[in-house]
Symmetry: C2
Subunit: 337 residues, 2 copies
Amino acid sequence: MVTDTPKRQVTLDEVAERAGVSRSAASRVINNAPHVSRAKREAVLRAVDDLGYVPNATARALATQQVGAVVLAMSGEDPAMFADPFFAEVVVGISSVLEETDLELVLSLATSTRGQARLEQLLRTHQADGVMLMSLHGDDPLATLANKSSVPVVFGGRPLTFEPRYYVDADNRGGARAATEHLVATGRRRIATITGRLDEGAGMARLQGFQDALAVAGQDGGRVAHGDFSEDGGSRAMDELLERYPDLDGVFIASDQMAIGALRALGKSGRSVPGEVGIVGFNDIATARHTAPPLTTVSQPINSLGREMARMLLDLMAGNDPSPLILPTRLVIRESA
Amino acid sequence: MVTDTPKRQVTLDEVAERAGVSRSAASRVINNAPHVSRAKREAVLRAVDDLGYVPNATARALATQQVGAVVLAMSGEDPAMFADPFFAEVVVGISSVLEETDLELVLSLATSTRGQARLEQLLRTHQADGVMLMSLHGDDPLATLANKSSVPVVFGGRPLTFEPRYYVDADNRGGARAATEHLVATGRRRIATITGRLDEGAGMARLQGFQDALAVAGQDGGRVAHGDFSEDGGSRAMDELLERYPDLDGVFIASDQMAIGALRALGKSGRSVPGEVGIVGFNDIATARHTAPPLTTVSQPINSLGREMARMLLDLMAGNDPSPLILPTRLVIRESA
DNA sequence: CTGAAAGCGCTAACAA
DNA sequence: TTGTTAGCGCTTTCAG
């Protein structure tokens, strides 16, 4: 027979009474603070056990002014974007470090204005002990808000408009440079790029990396078409590129999704990959291994990104002053370039 | 100039004082309860505005005994499994309905024993007003625990060991049946299956659907190999199938990931798809459109699954008694069968 | 319609 | 090492 969970909550007072000690003594035991005699400590523990006492987190939060939760907030107009496996992986990373603590993870996908307002409120009302902010677009008001918030905030990725004090980012620029250098090294001479959204830090950084590499190689970095990270966007951008630069022989594409779209467009135009044009993507999504041909791409340490964000936040909450982090990316060479 | 967020929290008392009313009156206004004169109401609202008052959620929670949060818990031994886009999509669905309410979403990935313990505690201590539970394996102790929990619980998918009172599930059995019927209808006569984990409801249901279809068609439903939903598992299972039934001409595979592995194994063995053997997968993951050949598969309404789980939970929390839901699946015919 | 007062369950000075 | 005493900020009877 399992002890049935009692309907009403067992309070600390009841435990104290049962154990024959004061409430504060009981409290000390629960939080294993010092200044409790061994005898009393054991009595309390026994009472806890008998009664099935479990501390009330809310009451504790009210008393300590600490919520016991951190929030991961992502803003953006399109709810569907969160379905990106990228986020799932980040969450797994974060979760794995939080699991070692007593903090809960609350997820806030702020898409609608309503959602944004809630997030804003969350930041103002100390409903969380810390905040992780991801994927801020353009001049997201959230960024400013977060900055003047009194709770610790760490950014995942860097917004365009300012450099946050605390952030962890992937080396997008370096990854893009490596990707482009690979194109150069394999003999491509008329290289173009399809960018991501340029109102996002990652989109811009990848464009810069592309240009860095071509500048160093002494090649023309002017062949650029704008995409939006989506498959269709990639396809459209590729069409545009093909029309403007029919003789291009290499393309660095700022996301694998776009690269998949581009592959389609390339196929329609009758170009062979990697024969006539080599392409390299970014992100190393699962599908990248199954396209035809398999995609050469840049892999990000997504899980680590989440992990490090969480660690940094914890550090911050502990009163330390951690340094920002930039995580290395890695070129994964497959067959498309 | 933006009003600076004051460091200390503005309390209701301060608002009341500023507005020249009692605290209870102020409280009523905030929660727009009746019995407040128009004049007072406006005075309070003005004070709120002037002071930048925002209610303290924790205090409110303590007073009302309502946390203002629901948790989405997923248990399972492998942290990586949460990286599955499936979960991301479910979360998006849930989030979209929660956004209309004032509830926060806390995410609990209980992988380690530590994590499980925390979840357990969460359930016992009323740290949430409701719980959504997903992907329970075998005889997960969580299931029992959740069942005798005093907070409303809705299941995503059905565990094997018992039929929960409240759940929303996809029609796995029906989907598998449709998939298999398609194989039959396209002339396959020696059809096998690769199952998922059979200690999961979905895995078992898909096997049953397979058998249903073959029984109706009067064919042999005995060609089965066991997989674990993973790509490698699918590949291994396909090898096994090929060895045992070299003449098979169709395979229903309980997940696209496994189907991808199977495709690889089939290629190695020199079989053509769909020429010599037709295959159909399950889930319609993004990659399914890009395999060679593109995968015929069963699509689940994942977003709706999340959505309906949230709705059902809300309903439950409102004191109603909703009926379980089974969401239809849909066969997506591409080129692999 | 209005306000006083009694909690919600826990923590943390402070005094003993 | 102990226990007493105030709170934390909000809600909610219950009289008026």
